[in-house]
């Protein structure tokens, strides 16, 4: 897969360095956005409302953390690729003997890691307002990692597909954002009408957030193992698709 000298480590490190250099934009800014969501929603909605027996403000925290993980994982791989394509510096990774698998895993791992860093940041800044201590931290971490990896892979596909920044923005605004927003970040799907509950079950992002919430509170809309199965299958499908696109040189090699 990504054995010695495949280029994985080098590309992974470079991707980390890239977002860390501009951490103010890539980490601090999304953390601030999530904090604003928390303050506004918890202020607007009645304070004594409870979901799954959890106060609403606390219920909100895992959703916001996971939304940050997912959106930033997507942003990392997609923006790195589109930027490299638009400036032409993509050739620096196309000329060396980097295998398709190493290319894929490097972008996905860096994306997931950026997602985790931002997610951690969001959790930390919410602590002064509402204390959520994960009931099952390993479940939480597993869902955050898998969710970040899925969106990182989607970001790789989007970054390779898009030819201009506005195409990428469209992908983000019309696909990624609705899927994350409508996945139970701000509510439990049990509060939805039956039809929309059913629809939510076709949204893989719903399982990411629900599983993560299980890691935080030990309660969730669906069983965590079911969520895990859906996520693992989603990631496997995305990985296979992305790897075959990379192997064909789709949109990267003319």
């Amino acid at each position: 897969m990504s054995g010695h000298g495949s280029g994985f480590a080098a590309l992974f490190q470079k991707e980390l360095l890239r977002f860390w250099r501009v951490a103010f934009q890539t980490v601090a800014a999304p953390v601030l956005t999530a904090l604003l969501y928390l303050l506004i929603f918890s202020h607007v909605l009645e304070a004594d409302r409870r979901i799954h027996g959890v106060p609403y403000t606390a219920f909100l925290v895992p959703g916001l953390v996971m939304m940050a993980v997912l959106q930033n994982a997507f942003a990392n791989s997609s923006s790195s690729l589109i930027q490299a394509k638009v400036t032409g510096s993509i050739i620096f990774v196309l000329l060396p003997p980097i295998s398709h698998a190493a290319f894929f895993w490097a972008f996905v791992a860096a994306a997931a890691l950026r997602g985790l860093v931002v997610g951690l940041g969001v959790w930390l800044v919410t602590l002064p307002f509402v204390q959520v201590w994960p009931a099952q931290p390993l479940w939480a971490l597993l869902f955050a990692l898998l969710g970040g990896a899925c969106l990182g892979a989607v970001g790789v596909i989007a970054g390779i597909w898009a030819e201009k920044f506005d195409q990428l923005a469209a992908f983000q605004n019309f696909l990624v954002l609705p899927l994350t927003m409508l996945s139970g970040v701000f509510y439990s799907i049990h509060s939805l009408p039956p039809f929309w509950q059913a629809v939510s079950h076709y949204n893989p992002v719903f399982y990411m957030i629900d599983g993560f919430r299980h890691g935080c509170f030990g309660v969730s809309d669906v069983a965590p193992l079911q969520s895990l199965a859906v996520l693992a299958a989603s990631f496997a499908a995305l990985a296979l698709l992305t790897l075959s696109l990379l192997k064909r040189g789709w949109k990267l090699r003319t």
Partner: protein, 304 residues
Amino acid sequence: MRVAVSFAGVVKRFGAFIALDGISLDIGAGEFFGLLGPNGAGKTTLISCLAGLARPDEGRITVLGHDVERDYRTARRLLGIVPQELVFDPFFSVRETLRIQSAYFGLRRNDDWIDEILHHLDLSDKADTNMRRLSGGMKRRVLVAQALVHRPPVIVLDEPTAGVDVELRQGLWRFIRRLNEDGHTIILTTHYLEEAETLCGRIALMKRGRILALDSTANLLARFSGHALVLKLAAGQSLPALLQPYCRAVRGDEVELALERLDALEGVLATLRQAGVGVADLRLQPPDLEDVFMRIVGLPEATP
């Protein structure tokens, strides 16, 4: 001859447009090879196919025997490509750029060689400068450096001297020549024909995706150019009819005659004397590549 790069029947289409129309060409190990041709001839496309940036529709390309598609990882390790486009990654300094590029090739401790390249390309004092703060010519030299980090046996330079000043161009060529003397195969495209003439042992002339001429530089010069005799005739006199067929150009009061061989000079002078045409001035011009280029590239299209 050990073959460094082999193109066999390479065809590349972009939609209906044929960018490479069946290129077959072997470049020997250790050669300094020139790929010349007018804009749009297909030079960069050919290099892209070699580098794996483009995929040929037909044909096969190997680098030191390794197929660039099936054995792409070995082939790419053997190649150093200096791209024509001036590209850079704005996040990093010159040294970081070179370290990252080394790491892509699996080289972790490469600083000695990086320092040496920086020295030869006169970039040592810019090592810690961010790429965005370099001038165009400096960015171009960083591209050369990036192509060399893994000491590739085959080095391909797509117009490496565009935008580089005269002094640095000399320095760059000294360095590339030394690499060639050390056994590296060099493939070069350039629009500076004097450069190709002095550096390249062998030249392919391309136009519209085909190779129009392929020979050693010396043979090309001898075959297609010959010397030129530039005559300034005495006031009011014109070239005798007998010499008109040899006239290549008229510039003001100067006429340029093509001499296939140097000993044709005597005949020309005799003809002038017999016609009673006086000569105010005369000089001989050695063959040059520009002349060959114009003649071959200017030929009417051969019909297939």
